[in-house]
């Protein structure tokens, strides 16, 4: 194990001591055995419920955001001021590496409360000294047109946004033959497709830089060579474990060296990565993390919404126990908006009203994930459920299949 910041790692491990989560999964907190410590996963957040927070370290918590979980048991992500500032400082340095300066006027078109993306980006831009316009997401053509006009009026020259919102703005600009002033676009939350990247370059001479970030951590950002995300090992330790997948990526574990309230140590993000330590043509000496896929069954929908096929299937099986098979179809409705079409096949012999079952399934899917629920409310995702009878027997293994037919695969 190589850490270029052993002091920070020691501090982090000492914070983990006394944590009921780490006490449960680890037998040792010895830094010498770091690479043999069992990885942590999102179960850690179950140990940071509000009652646990109130009983322990509550004097340090300043803000609480959310990520995933169901609508009824959302996942709390608490921050102290120290780690909030540390995150903002790191993100700011990475933004500055691609040319964002205190002369830059930036619109932050990311989700805000209860999500961390918008506030985190804004805090980083404030550290740099930018002029900042917090504008939120776009999920309709009318709003896109209104905000595009504001962006041009206000002479905004950079955007920090998600690709779905960028698609809306691009569509609005093309349809109204309006200018598009921003020349620097920093994206996060969703995979940035080569198509969208090229369109922004060719039509508006705007350069897109994708970030690699989640609620749990800000990891890195692309440079002009667009070959991986530069990250600072003094801030984030990335380890690759397990066998390679079909494109050579391995399961990534991250350690966020300045995490405090929820110490993230060898945390499995669910992504596969490759790491490149060779010098980059851009001149930055920081290594690069190259994204190489996500865990099987994880879906990224428009708006940066992450949900898994297993979450959807579990909610459906619970709400409609007669379901034997679930097919999940993903299609593009319009730029920036996806259709989540779930088709249930019921076991043979079912006699009853499909309408009630459909309603139950719709509600269950809406509530299976806080992110998805928000995306549905905002109109970034459209949900449809279809029910069929089938000849499948009531017993036997259930099947879940995913068909991604979107024009832009995220």
């Amino acid at each position: 194990m190589v850490s270029s910041n052993p002091a920070a790692l020691e501090r982090l491990l000492s914070r983990a001591k006394g944590s009921p989560y780490y006490e449960r999964i680890w037998r040792t907190f010895d830094i010498q055995k770091f690479d043999r410590l069992p990885p942590s996963d999102e179960d850690i957040f179950k140990y940071y419920s509000m009652s646990a927070i109130n009983n322990d370290k509550s004097s340090e918590i300043a803000m609480i955001f959310f990520s995933g979980g169901t609508t009824h048991t959302p996942k709390l992500i608490p921050f102290s001021l120290n780690e909030w500032h540390a995150r903002a400082n790191y993100r700011a340095r990475m933004y500055q590496n691609i040319g964002v300066s205190n002369d830059t006027t930036v619109a932050v078109m990311l989700p805000f409360g209860p999500w961390v993306a918008g506030p985190s980006a804004q805090a980083a831009l404030a550290k740099i000294g930018c002029e900042i316009y917090p504008l939120g997401l776009v999920s309709s053509a009318a709003k896109a047109e209104h905000l595009l006009s504001l962006i041009n009026d206000q002479k905004i020259d950079a955007l920090v946004t998600i690709p779905s919102t960028l698609e809306f703005l691009l569509d609005a600009a093309v349809k109204s033959i309006a200018p598009f002033r921003p020349r620097t676009i920093i994206t996060s939350g969703e995979v940035l497709s080569p198509k969208l990247r090229n369109e922004m370059r060719e039509i508006f001479d705007a350069r897109c830089y994708s970030c690699y970030a989640s609620t749990e951590a800000f990891i890195g950002i692309e440079c002009d060579t667009q070959h991986g995300f530069h990250y600072d090992p003094q801030e984030v330790l990335i380890e690759l474990v397990g066998p390679p997948n079909r494109i050579g990526g391995r399961k990534a574990l991250i350690t966020v060296l300045r995490s405090e309230i929820v110490p993230l140590i060898r945390y499995a993000l669910g992504d596969y990565l490759c790491l490149d330590f060779t010098p980059c043509d851009c001149g930055l000496s920081l290594p690069r993390a190259i994204w190489a896929g996500r865990q099987k069954g994880e879906i990224e929908l428009a708006g940066g919404i992450n949900v898994s096929t297993s979450e959807i299937a579990a909610s459906v099986f619970n709400a409609v126990p007669q379901t034997r098979d679930v097919k999940i179809w993903l299609r593009t409705v319009s730029p920036g908006r996806d259709l989540l079409h779930v088709v249930l096949a019921l076991s043979s012999g079912f006699e009853g009203e499909f309408v009630d079952l459909r309603r139950a399934a719709m509600q269950a899917i809406q509530e299976c994930s806080l992110d998805l629920n928000d995306g549905l409310s905002q109109g970034q995702v459209v949900l449809d459920v279809e029910i069929h009878a089938s000849l499948a027997p009531a017993e036997g293994k259930r099947k879940v299949r995913l068909y991604d037919r979107r024009q832009v695969v995220r």
Partner: protein, 379 residues
């Protein structure tokens, strides 16, 4: 806040800053060393919205946040804040928590949009400055999501707009709530009673405008306490003639000391108020202000947003060279704004609809949700 300086020094300091302001600086030119405050001209909404909306900061040395507010003249207003301004405003909001008797380390659910409009972020920063644990949540989440967040975080304080609390009332019920802090819109007495009954907590209203915070209620709910280190209040006669005495109603005029990028001095708010220096039983010293309504004829397009009729008519007349414009607003199952124009054509109809829809982001959202309909007809 310029604590310790005399009021006169602070006002002169504000005027000196205001003279440099690119948007309304000319108004104050020559008044930096005024002999009498009455010689300093009034600032109105027209001064803030009439000029170009590009950054008013001539030289910037730190980050600037730009928020928007819709205004009542049909044009959006931009309200910029430096990091230092936000810190100053946060200190005033920290004082609000003292007046409201909010316990230290309270868990505060700030149920307000954290983007575009400033009120959400400023409230969140204010509570953080007061040492509270802040849970910022935008208002476009579903009820079930908000319910999940409330059940999970068990907030002691909910800070939100009255219309938002009304919308989510059934999912906000939680035994831990001690204070409901309302702001952003006029709080009606019927709403206060409804919220207190449903949530089992005192509802304390905070009064402010986009241009500046004014004050907040204490648990006795009798007027808004304000700190004269942060805001200076005057009342002028609604008909513009003669002084206004204690306990008499007049138009509220504010001068705000905690906002370097918008050094508001003698700003006519359009609100009808009275002021009293009678001490409050809560023990907080200083004057209090009571709000009675608005000056002039307004259409309350939806909660939290009213538009001055004459301003909208003037805007449409000027933009489209119309001979006559009349407005009719009805509120049935949904809100309907009928705009009668002369001359009428389908082109004019489209142009009028476009202008009105783009008055404010809120209008776009209300139309999209089917809660507001705009109809344009010929006379």
């Amino acid at each position: 806040m310029t604590v310790g300086k005399s009021l006169d020094e602070r006002l002169k300091g504000n005027v000196a800053l205001a003279v440099q302001h690119r948007v309304f600086g000319d108004l104050y030119n020559g008044h930096e060393h005024y002999q009498s405050l009455n010689d300093v001209p009034f600032l109105t909404e027209k001064h803030i919205t009439s000029a170009d909306l590009a950054s008013a900061a001539n030289e910037r040395q730190a980050a600037v946040f730009h928020f928007f507010t819709s205004g009542t003249t049909g044009r959006r207003k931009k309200i910029p804040y430096t990091v230092h301004d936000i810190a100053s405003v946060s200190q005033y909001l920290r004082w609000f928590c003292v007046v409201e008797r909010i316990k230290p380390r309270s868990r505060v659910l700030v149920l307000m949009d954290q983007y575009y409009w400033g009120i959400g972020q400023l409230t969140a920063y204010g509570h953080m400055a007061a040492g509270n644990i802040v849970i910022p949540v935008d208002t476009d989440l579903s009820k079930s999501s908000i319910q999940g967040i409330v059940e999970c975080t068990q907030p002691n304080v909910i800070s939100s707009l009255p219309s938002v609390i009304d919308k989510f009332l059934d999912v906000l019920k939680c035994h831990s709530i001690e204070v409901v802090e309302t702001t952003g819109e006029r709080l009606e007495q019927a709403q206060r009673e409804k919220f207190e009954s449903a949530l089992g907590a005192r509802v304390l209203d905070a009064y402010g405008l986009s241009e500046g915070l004014v004050g907040v209620e204490c648990p006795l709910q009798d007027g808004y306490h304000f700190d004269e280190e942060a805001v200076f209040i005057e009342l002028i006669a609604i008909d513009g003639v003669g002084p206004v005495g204690e306990q008499e109603t007049g138009e509220l005029v504010i001068s705000v000391f905690n906002h370097s990028l918008m050094p508001i001095t003698r700003y006519r708010t359009g609100d009808v108020c009275h002021v009293s220096s009678t001490p409050c039983q809560c023990g907080i010293s200083g004057r209090r202000v009571w709000l009675h309504g608005r000056v002039g004829d307004h259409i309350n397009l939806f909660e939290g947003y009213s538009i001055h009729k004459e301003s909208l008519i003037a805007l449409l007349t000027k933009e489209l060279d119309l001979e006559d414009v009349q407005l009719k607003f009805e509120r049935r199952e949904r809100r309907e704004l009928s705009i009668f124009v002369r001359p009428y054509s389908t082109l004019v109809e489209r142009a009028v609809s476009r202008i009105v829809e783009n008055i404010a982001l809120e209008v776009i959202e209300m139309i999209r949700q089917g809660e507001l309909v705009i109809r344009v007809k010929g006379m």
